[in-house]
């Protein structure tokens, strides 16, 4: 069989060129880059133990990836012990079907930001199956209305200026929304508030999962995750298996390093959820669904991750905390944003594209647009050797040494 990449390269190049001429992307990213560099520099100064903690986390991560099967088993048992229900999804389709099996049809779903959700096209799938789904992260909400895909893993709508937000909101809410950020935030707050309390199901991801306790750690600033995972009667966590670490203590270390490099400074909220809401206040009889969800489900998703964990040259890519730092330092990303990507973006995203979301054929053009300049490695708290992996992928592409 012959795979001809020539057309793909030409089309991809066109999209990169168009993106690099887009003024919105250019301004937004350069603003974001400056603010990222400043916040991170400042918080690293305030919390100087961070780089060392990051090294510790690298070790935790590499142990975890070497021991992935056990961790999955242990975490599933912990969730069940906490009276939640745990599932393991081998692939993309299985993950979606398990979620749909829990949710059913005709439900209202509120959802927190999740790259895994993007990877699975979760919202679209649930909608196609007769549910109403709302993205509750402001950036994701904007993209939901604009029918676009994220342009950055942490600031998905980084490329949309306030004027364009006002435009799409005015249309959607059927009233004049001024291009004023506070006003824009307010209309969404009012709209979603009602959704949280009438929704049947809340879905979230997780930044880290502690296998020993079954604790899901979710970092956020907006407060949407608190509401989306606290108000509805059912909470479903969908999380990639690479987020597993052995202990609760480990999870705290990973969380701190994540938020520090993810430009949170100090995050507004860190949610830790380990099971359904319960009370024993009346006669010490445990009853579920006190104020929070009565039902709690966790779907651990593999979808290529275990394969990656087995590859010596690539398992390190699973250490990614999704802090986004590398993207801000990437000269290609700085002018093209998420166009340098498929679901996952930038250099690390290219590796993930090859193994998890898209496959080698989607990855090939991305692989060749990496400069291999190595600045991402300088930035990365996990020191992930992306340029090395890109080199390895190039070899596999040139000689067709891969299966898709």
């Amino acid at each position: 069989m012959t795979v001809d990449f020539r057309k793909d390269f030409v089309n991809y190049e066109k999209s990169l060129n168009a993106a690099s001429e887009d003024k919105n992307i250019r301004t937004a990213i350069s603003r974001a880059v400056t603010s990222y560099r400043n916040t991170v520099a400042e918080t690293l100064e305030r919390f100087p133990h961070t780089p060392q903690l990051a090294e510790e986390v690298q070790e935790i991560k590499s142990q975890s990836m070497a021991n992935l099967d056990n961790l999955v088993e242990q975490a599933m048992a912990s969730v069940e012990r906490n009276k939640g229900k745990a599932f393991y999804a081998k692939d993309h389709q299985a993950a979606l079907e398990i979620a749909l099996g829990i949710i059913g049809k005709g439900k209202t779903v509120v959802k927190g930001k999740s790259m895994l959700g993007e990877e699975l096209h979760l919202r679209e799938y649930l909608e196609d199956n007769g549910n109403e789904v709302w993205e509750t992260d402001l950036g994701e909400f904007i993209l939901q209305l604009r029918k676009e895909r994220p342009m950055h893993i942490l600031s998905p709508s980084i490329h949309v200026p306030r004027e364009q937000v006002a435009e799409v909101f005015s249309k959607f809410f059927n009233k004049e929304v001024p291009p004023d950020i506070a006003e824009e935030v307010k209309v969404v707050r009012e709209f979603l508030r009602e959704k949280y309390f009438t929704a049947d199901i809340g879905i979230s991801g997780a930044n880290v999962v502690a296998a020993d306790t079954g604790a899901m750690v979710i970092i956020e600033n907006e407060g949407n995750v608190r509401l989306a995972t606290g108000a509805p009667p059912v909470h479903i966590v969908m999380v990639g298996v690479e987020k597993l670490v052995p202990t609760f203590q480990d999870a705290m270390k990973v969380a701190e390093v994540t938020w520090r490099y993810a430009q949170y400074g100090v995050p507004g909220y860190v949610n830790i959820v380990s099971g359904p809401s319960k009370t024993g206040d009346i006669e010490k009889v445990t009853t579920y669904g006190a104020h929070g969800p009565k039902e709690f489900y966790v779907i651990f998703v593999d979808n290529g991750r275990k394969e990656m964990a087995k590859e010596e040259k690539f398992s390190q890519a699973l250490h990614c905390l999704r802090c986004g730092g590398c993207m801000y330092e990437c000269p290609v990303f700085q002018v093209t944003a998420g166009h340098f990507g498929h679901t996952y973006m930038g250099g690390i995203g290219t590796i993930w594209t090859a193994f998890v979301s898209g496959g080698m054929e989607k990855a090939a053009p991305l692989v060749y647009s990496c400069l291999r300049c190595g600045r991402c490695v300088e930035r990365c708290p996990m020191s992930i050797n992306v340029p090395g992996m890109i080199g390895e992928l190039r070899e596999r592409i040139v000689y067709g040494k891969y299966e898709d």
């Binding site: 990449f5 190049e13 000269p331 060749y368 400069l371 600045r375 070899e395």
Partner: protein, 325 residues
């Protein structure tokens, strides 16, 4: 499975494998700068150009041709014709790139000459393989043609060995990188000491003559700064010649890439990135940009906006100012 890659990759990799040069330049052309210097072919220290500076003006033409080329257009099929030509008779860049300006050719060719003069001035004795010198194959490594590279490098090593040298001094950090990190994995007993031009100059920098110049700003090359950890050396050298160095916000191991590595596949984007880097460098307060890598030199030149008065030079060219004619 078999894969069909963009044509430019085929052209470049085949040229390296068949002709020992990414653009199939002839050995005599690559070595023309050394005429009259009477460099010996044997010695302890081997001066290695890899033909990298010499081919810069041709890369630009290749890229320009590709940029203005719509796959499916007449010109494109002409290029395809050129590729067939390549398979039969070898690529003929002389004809293909008749548009290359003589002044560009002269400038980039003379970089090697100037480097040799600077090292002579510092009393280094070295030899040069002349017409026999082969390209290091760095692009095979960069672009993923590692199986081909493994075979190719054996030929390069043969030429190097003929010199009898123990140490190789590379003008390009890309050559130094592959000699240092890749060759030892592919070649048995590849135990040469690998140095860069910058290393050697740095060691004898006290001997450099002072240079009259306004302040300069250094564009650290990614390979040099991050892979080879050479950045302070550049500053030391400039201090020795009495020139003030202004610093760009992103420098040393945080340097911003010039965009060069994706030039052959994504020329417009590469150009945008080069232009941004030029601006970043100019924000230092100096408009005189120095770098120490052939691809950075060419990519930054390419990124310079029309009418921009900034000057971009290789460190070699700059240091040559201090060499007595």
């Amino acid at each position: 499975m078999e894969t069909k890659m963009p044509m430019v990759l085929d052209v470049i990799s085949e040229n390296i494998i068949k002709h020992g040069s990414p653009l199939a330049l002839k050995g005599s052309e690559v070595a023309s700068w050394a005429k009259g210097l009477n460099l010996p072919v044997k010695g302890e220290l081997l001066f290695y150009t890899g033909g990298e500076y010499q081919m810069l003006p041709f890369i630009d033409s290749l890229v320009k041709t590709i940029t203005h080329l719509d796959q499916g257009s007449k010109v494109f099929s002409m290029m395809m014709g050129a590729r067939n030509l390549l398979n039969k008779t070898g690529f003929s860049p002389e004809k293909m790139y008749a548009s290359v300006l003589a002044k560009d050719k002269d400038r980039y060719n003379s970089v090697c000459f100037k480097a040799a003069k600077v090292l002579k001035e510092l009393e280094y004795e070295f030899c040069y393989s002349g017409n026999d010198e082969l390209y290091s194959g760095a692009l095979l490594y960069e672009l993923g043609y590692l199986e081909d590279m493994e075979k190719y490098v054996q030929r390069v090593v043969e030429v190097i060995k003929k010199s009898g040298a123990k140490t190789i001094v590379c003008l390009s950090p890309h050559a130094a990188e592959v000699f240092k990190f890749i060759y030892p994995k592919m070649v048995k007993d590849f135990d040469f000491e690998i140095r860069t031009f910058v290393d050697l100059v740095w060691e004898r920098r006290e001997k450099l003559a002072k240079i009259q110049s306004k302040s300069v700003v250094i564009h650290d090359s990614c390979r040099l700064a991050r892979e080879l950890s050479i950045h302070q050396e550049l500053r030391d050298i400039l201090e020795s010649v009495g020139v003030e160095v202004k610093e760009a916000a992103m420098n040393r191991e945080w340097t911003s890439c010039c965009g060069g590595p994706i030039k052959i596949l994504f020329p417009e984007l590469s150009h945008v990135i080069g232009g941004r880097r030029v601006n970043e460098l100019k924000e230092s307060g100096s408009e005189h940009i120095l770098t120490s890598c052939p691809y950075c030199l060419s990519a930054l030149e390419g990124g310079l906006a029309k009418g921009d008065s900034a000057v971009i030079e290789d460190l070699i060219e700059f240091l040559y100012r201090g060499v007595k004619a």
